[in-house]
Amino acid sequence: MSIKIGEVPYKERIQKGIKDDFMRQAVSSAQGRFRTGRITQAEELGNWEDWRDLGEEIRTHTLENLDYYLQQLSEQVSRRGGHVFFAETAEEANQYVKDIILKKQAKKVVKAKSMVTEEIGLNKALEEVGAEVVESDLGEWILQLDEDPPSHIVTPALHKNKQQIRETFAKKKGYTGSDTPEELAAFAREQLRQDFLAADVGVTGCNFAIAESGSITLVTNEGNAEMVTALPDTVITVMGMERIVPTWEEMEVLVSLLTRAAVGQKLTSYITALTGARLDEEVDGPEEFHLVVVDNGRSKILGTEFQSALHCIRCAACINACPVYRHIGGHAYNSIYPGPIGAVITPLLEGYEDHKELPYASTLCAACTEACPVKIPLHEHLIRHRQIIVEKNMAPTAEKLMMKGFAAWGSNPSIYNMSAKMAKPALGPWTKDGMIENGPGPLKAWTDVRDFYAPQGQSFRSWFKQRQKDGGSK
C-alpha cells in the first residue's frame, strides 16, 4: 500500500461511506467517546492551553533544528550498537529493510502498528522477498486478514463490526467461537503469541525518537510493541523523519499530550523506550537494531507555509472532532491519513493531482484546529490548499463557477435581487413544508444527506428594510 488507498473516484467513495450505516454509527460513537475522553482529561488538568502552548513550542523548535537533532539521534543510536539508515524515498527504505531480511534469511516478521510502514508499502515489499509479515495490533491484524485498509489512525478497524470480525477469523484462521469481543481478543492473543515467539525480525514504527540518548519511544495499550521489541533478535524501527524530540523531558510532555488527546488516557498501558541493541548478558531486546529514517516527501513541506503540518503527533484528535469525517468515514479520503490532518498532508506528500478534493472535505468549522494538542492551524492550511488549487486551475468546476459566478451575480444588485425573489417559485416543485428534500442539479449532493431550507422569497436586505419600517419589532 501507499498513502493513496485505491482508484475509486471521490464522489463514489463518499456515497459508499454515507450509505454504510454501521460505519457511520460506529464512527459517530467513537468520535463521541474519544472527544469526551480528551475533553475530560483537558478539564482535569485545568491548564490545557498551557500544555498545548508547550507542545507547540517543542514541536516548532525541534522542526526548526531538525538536521541537528537527527544527527544527534543517529550518533547516539550508533554509539549504542544500532545501525542508522537515512532513506529519501519509500523505495530506498523498503530496499534497506529487504536487504536485512534476506541477509538474516528471515522467514517471519512481526510488526507493531505503524503508519509510516503503511505509507511506504513495507509489507508488500517484505512479501516480495518471501517473508511472512504478521501485523500484531489487534485492529491491524483484523484488517490484514481481511485485506482491508485502515480507516482511522488510532483504531484502524473502526469500520468493521464484530460479526464481520468473527467471519474473518473463521475463514482465515479456523476460529469457531462467538462474536463477543473478549473471546475474539483471546483468540487473537493465543494466535499472535505463537507468532511473537517464532518471529525472526520485529518491525516497529516510532512515536518519538529521543535525540539525546538515541531512544525510540513506543506507545501502545495491547503490549504488542513490547513483544515485537523484546523477543526477536533483530528489530527494525522505521520512523518518519519528523518524529523526534530533543530530550526525555520533551518526550514526556508530548506523550502526555498524545495519550490524552488520542484516547483520553493519562498514559497508555505501555510506554516503552528502546535504546540501541541489548547489552552483554541481557536476554530480552534485539541483538541487532536498525533505525530507518524516512523522508518520502516530508522535506518538501519543510521551509514552507505548511511546515507546522509536520508538528503532527498522530493522535487523531482532529479526526475525532471533524463533522465531515463523522459522515463519510475514513475510507472516503482515499488516504491512509484521513480526516483534517490527512486532508492537509496527503496533497503535500503526494501532490494535488490525485487528492485535490480532500481540502474540500471540510466545513472549515475549525473544530480540528481547536482539538489539536500541538496547535496546528489545520483549517487555515485547508483554506490555503483551496486557494492553491483554484490558482492551479484544478478546483472542482462548481467551486470555480461559484467563485466566478458569485462575483458577477453578487456585484449586480438588480440581478441579485431578482434571482433571490425568483428562487422560491423556481424551486417550488421540490419544496415540501418549506424544506427541500430531493433537490435538483447542484443541490442534489446536499439534499442526499440532509434537507435544505427553501428560499423564503424575501431577501435579507428587503426583510431588514421592512423590519426597520416596522420599528424593529419583527
Binding site: 460513537s29 498551557d50 500544555w51 502552548d53 508547550l54 513550542e57 538536521d67 541537528y68 537533532y69 537527527l70 544527527q71 550508533s78 549504542r80 544500532g82 545501525h83 542508522v84 539508515f85 537515512f86 495490533d137 489487534l138 483484523i142 484502524p156 478497524a157 470480525i165 469481543p181 473478549e182 481478543a185 492473543r189 503469541r193 539525546e212 540518548s213 531512544s215 495491547e222 513483544m227 523484546a230 523477543l231 523523519m241 530530550t247 526525555w248 520533551e250 510532555v253 502526555s256 488516557q265 498514559l267 497508555t268 498501558s269 505501555y270 510506554i271 516503552t272 523506550a273 535504546t275 541493541a277 547489552l279 541481557e282 536476554v283 530480552d284 531486546g285 523522508d295 519543510l302 521551509g303
Partner: protein
C-alpha cells in the same frame, strides 16, 4: 555501528530550512510555560499513594497497601487469587530486603519460583511464557497515571512483566513521584551526566487492553490480563 546516507539527507533539510547545516550549538529554549511541574506539586508520599489508589480503579488494577511485615500475607492472597503456581521474578536485592525471599522459601512446596538468571539466556523467556505470575519491584512509580517504571537490565528482563498471564508490582512507597515528568527528568539528568539510559525502559500502566473491536474495552490482550499493585510503607 553504521550510519548511511546521512550527510546528503541532512544537507537537504538544512537547505529547505534556508540556512547552513547545524551540527553544534543548538540549545533548547526556555519554554514559556511548564505546566508539567505544577501537577501534584508539594504533595507528601502519603497523598501520592492516595492519588495512585484512586487511579488504579480507572486502569483496572487491584490496589493493595501494606507494610513490610504484612507483605508476605498480601502477596500470598494475591497469588492465590491468581491461581499462581509458577512465578517468575526479577533478580533484585529488594526481594531479600523486603522479606519476599523468605516467604518464597516457606512456600516452596506450593510455589515454583524462577528468579531471572542472565546465564540461562533464552530459557528465561520460555519460563516467563509458561508462568502464571510475573513479579517486579517498581523503580519509579508515577502517581498520576498509575504507572510502574521498570529499568530492564540483565537481571530484570522485559519478559517478566509481559509474558505471564498476570502481573504483580511491588511498590515501595519511597518510589512514588507525582508524574512522568520526574522520571523523565531523572533519566535526562543521568544521561547528561554521561550515565547511559538502560537499553529498555518500560512504563507499565495496569494490564494490557484494547478497544479495537467496536470500541469495547477488552482488558487483557497481548500482555498480562490482570494486574495488582502492592504499595509497601
Amino acid at each position: 555501528m553504521s550510519i548511511q546516507n546521512r550527510e546528503a539527507f541532512l544537507d537537504k533539510l538544512a537547505s529547505r530550512l534556508g540556512r547552513e547545516r547545524r551540527t553544534a550549538g543548538v540549545e533548547r529554549p526556555q519554554w514559556s510555560v511548564t505546566p508539567q511541574d505544577e501537577v501534584f506539586k508539594g504533595m507528601s508520599q502519603d497523598e501520592l499513594v492516595e492519588v495512585l489508589e484512586k487511579h488504579c480503579k480507572v486502569i483496572h488494577t487491584d490496589f493493595k497497601r501494606t507494610d513490610r511485615d504484612g507483605l508476605a500475607k498480601v502477596l500470598n492472597e494475591t497469588l492465590e487469587a491468581y491461581e499462581g503456581k509458577l512465578i517468575i521474578t526479577s533478580k533484585d536485592a529488594r526481594y531479600q530486603e523486603y522479606g519476599v525471599n523468605e516467604f518464597f522459601e516457606e512456600q516452596k512446596d506450593q510455589l515454583d519460583v524462577h528468579v531471572w538468571e542472565a546465564a540461562l539466556g533464552k530459557e528465561n523467556q520460555k519460563i516467563a511464557e509458561r508462568a502464571d505470575v510475573g513479579i517486579v519491584f517498581s523503580d519509579i512509580t508515577l502517581a498520576e497515571s498509575g504507572t510502574v517504571t521498570s529499568f530492564n537490565t540483565k537481571d530484570n528482563g522485559r519478559s517478566i512483566s509481559l509474558l505471564p498471564r498476570t502481573f504483580i508490582a511491588i511498590i515501595p512507597k519511597s518510589t512514588l513521584v507525582p508524574r512522568m515528568t520526574q522520571a523523565a527528568r531523572h533519566i535526562h539528568q543521568a544521561q547528561a551526566n554521561g550515565e547511559d539510559v538502560p537499553s529498555y525502559v518500560s512504563f507499565i500502566t495496569g494490564p494490557s487492553n484494547s478497544a479495537d473491536i467496536e470500541m469495547n474495552l477488552i482488558v487483557g490482550v497481548h500482555g498480562p490480563v490482570k494486574a495488582t499493585y502492592i504499595v509497601v510503607d
